[in-house]
Symmetry: D2
Subunit: 260 residues, 4 copies
Amino acid sequence: MAIRTVVWGENIHERINAVVAEIYPKGMHTTIADALNTDSAISATTATLEQDEHGLPQARLDETDVLIWWGHKDHGAVNDEIVERVAKRVWEGMGLIVLHSGHFSKIFKRLMGTPCDLKWREAGERERIWVTNPGHPIAQGLGDGFAIENEEMYGEHFDVPEPLETVFISWFQGGEVFRSGLTYRRGNGNVFYFRPGHETYPTYHQAPVQHVLRNAVKWAYNANNRNTAVHYGNVPVEKAPEPITERGPKLHAPGEEGYK
Amino acid sequence: MAIRTVVWGENIHERINAVVAEIYPKGMHTTIADALNTDSAISATTATLEQDEHGLPQARLDETDVLIWWGHKDHGAVNDEIVERVAKRVWEGMGLIVLHSGHFSKIFKRLMGTPCDLKWREAGERERIWVTNPGHPIAQGLGDGFAIENEEMYGEHFDVPEPLETVFISWFQGGEVFRSGLTYRRGNGNVFYFRPGHETYPTYHQAPVQHVLRNAVKWAYNANNRNTAVHYGNVPVEKAPEPITERGPKLHAPGEEGYK
Amino acid sequence: MAIRTVVWGENIHERINAVVAEIYPKGMHTTIADALNTDSAISATTATLEQDEHGLPQARLDETDVLIWWGHKDHGAVNDEIVERVAKRVWEGMGLIVLHSGHFSKIFKRLMGTPCDLKWREAGERERIWVTNPGHPIAQGLGDGFAIENEEMYGEHFDVPEPLETVFISWFQGGEVFRSGLTYRRGNGNVFYFRPGHETYPTYHQAPVQHVLRNAVKWAYNANNRNTAVHYGNVPVEKAPEPITERGPKLHAPGEEGYK
Amino acid sequence: MAIRTVVWGENIHERINAVVAEIYPKGMHTTIADALNTDSAISATTATLEQDEHGLPQARLDETDVLIWWGHKDHGAVNDEIVERVAKRVWEGMGLIVLHSGHFSKIFKRLMGTPCDLKWREAGERERIWVTNPGHPIAQGLGDGFAIENEEMYGEHFDVPEPLETVFISWFQGGEVFRSGLTYRRGNGNVFYFRPGHETYPTYHQAPVQHVLRNAVKWAYNANNRNTAVHYGNVPVEKAPEPITERGPKLHAPGEEGYK
């Protein structure tokens, strides 16, 4: 079965900004979903901010293997309850790919536990994306890396936790560098941050960027993403793997739930 | 100057539970602070839930190098605003040591970005804490490890992100294991989770446990914990490290702040 | 195409020790290969120490996707040249799974850069293997973990580098713990160390152990394991991605190779 | 007591190349040692390739807390026995700082377990070193980073294992990036790789570079660097932490040493 992927787009600048609308007439989310659907291993649909429940009702998320997130202008408009819903699905095993200005999205900050701040400059300068981990599945088929002629600069320090692996690092014409491809696991869910994608440039129309996104969806996919195999909570004394005798004082009466 | 350390205790069971009150007549926080103060490199004081602002007004946190956190019965009573205040200090560089049932504290879950769930059993069983990283500063002076005769069991899976380093792993009489000493960095702040310390046992009176706590305070200490050296936000084109010429369309007017 | 897997066995105790011969009449390597071949996604064959070039001529390694290594009695008999040959294939992207006493094999020590020492006891005690990373592909289908009734104990400290991820931790009846499933990447090659498998017990006949091995082969497989896409060495000034002018003194004449 | 630091220099180009001799008339090692000795917490001396035992007899290494390594032209001339001697001291807890072209030194490749290859270009171009981990002790006092006007370019992919933490990333005028500050632990020893330092430029005379080196020595220092507290090898059944009864067949007679 193809990897059920939802591309979430904020879909604001595509509607209110003429430049963006011209580059992405159907919205960035649609451009990205179309690029994913060129690969038969992926089945991508879209969701946007203005939809009911931002297009992410529980039933849909339950049948989503990988979620891609692009937002910029109005992160604050995303409902906190839906952020928690997405976080819970990631912990269960849904993959999450956060793009560009999504670094400041509620869901990314929620999962990182840090401010996710950075430097930026909007000058249409050249970005060179170098592969720092050529054996990683997300880097396959990219050789040493690739360039994007016009992009917004993001510069270090990028205030995120040390990643599991650094897959890409960007060079910018104006003198800065940025860790552009970072992997994390949160609960059972694979998380990938990928830097490029400022909305005033045609970044998501470029072949290498689309290639990275397809690789990333496959990497983020966890077949076991409705993981219920792990047992948390109390293990009664009589169910201890090794026979033991209870001793000493205790707080909890038998069968009582723990504090949370 | 000694490392300014605040030991935060929930201080509930010490007051309402006779067993706990007998073991820790002045509160667990005081026992821990006293143990830290045997080392002249550390200057420890205490704070508790019931105090105004939970004993953690901004001015005090600003002068705190390392915060130790023990809570269990009423994590929910901790004010969200103070949780954010503590998180912000960690990002600036304040060290944070989270103890035992503090795994479910708001501040720990906030910084981890995961549910931090686990298995548990209150049977007074034996715990053996093994050193898995003998070169780590927190493990110095402990040899291969040490035992605690009576402890609550915590078992894997412990739902936290992969740590920077695993310093201790616990063996339990009833058959479980647990990663008992884990390090993280969040922003500029060093974070250490240390498992032992169920309130119905005299864990914090034990010499090896106190030794770990002193080591951990020294490790978590970051001399530069009011870090303001990093610049985030917009880098105007004319201040790019390398001279560049602006080109292409853009979203932001000159000097305009970015979206958050 | 199925994952071309070679199971390398030292094949000494199976021939000279009656107990081992009875448990593994065709050799441990054959038992393991048979277990892998129950999955049509894997195509496993065997190689042993006494064969010419230890059964690992270059041409065979070139067509090997994943190599599994079990050795114990005579690590020193493995030819250094073949160790380097295997290491080079791992750097290119061949997966490597090192089993049990293989912790002291030349190839594992070569790739880890540490002594890989540990504690051990041969008492037929019970081992409980707990999953510490339920979202990891190698842990799929194992729930919380599983037990092995009779095993050799391996105890911490295990002197290896901090892993990318800790997948399993073992509990032993005699009181020790051990990080039993550890992942690494070396060059483009995925490396997994898996602890169980003392030759005097029927460990590799057990279903959960076989399940882990199949999971591990699939995880270790890197489709791009003849990676030649990365360019190392000199980048002449005229081929710099950005036009630059050479300046300042230099050591090397144009086109000269670097020191190694 | 000051941190006993030995700066090891190959000391070849300083003697045979006029450009290098003019920049470092007393050798690069002396310039580095002098820079370290401006800090009273460090006591630095030097050792060079041409000395007896390369200036690193066992007795001297035994009293060395941190070793700094610079080599380039003749890595092959370093005696294998001395490489093993240094590796063993690192495993015991001696810190190791590897500089620039030392990426190809025997000791670095020995500890990394990878080829440590990279791209390079000798064009005297500008390098900008950015701090990617402002909370790390090695980055203290550097703000966002610093620039070196003339340096050799090193470009990704740098074929080393994923580090514990990435502290610096370099930007090069010609378009490449490089992970310029990487931390590792091998055994009990802290290892830091720091990129800058091509011998035809006055890099080690620059204040920020010297500042990094002083920070790195303090970070790499492990007070317990003659670690003998960890016990490896056999744990006899009667000395198991928990009482167990031996059962099942075994390979080893009582008291017999394991295979290596």
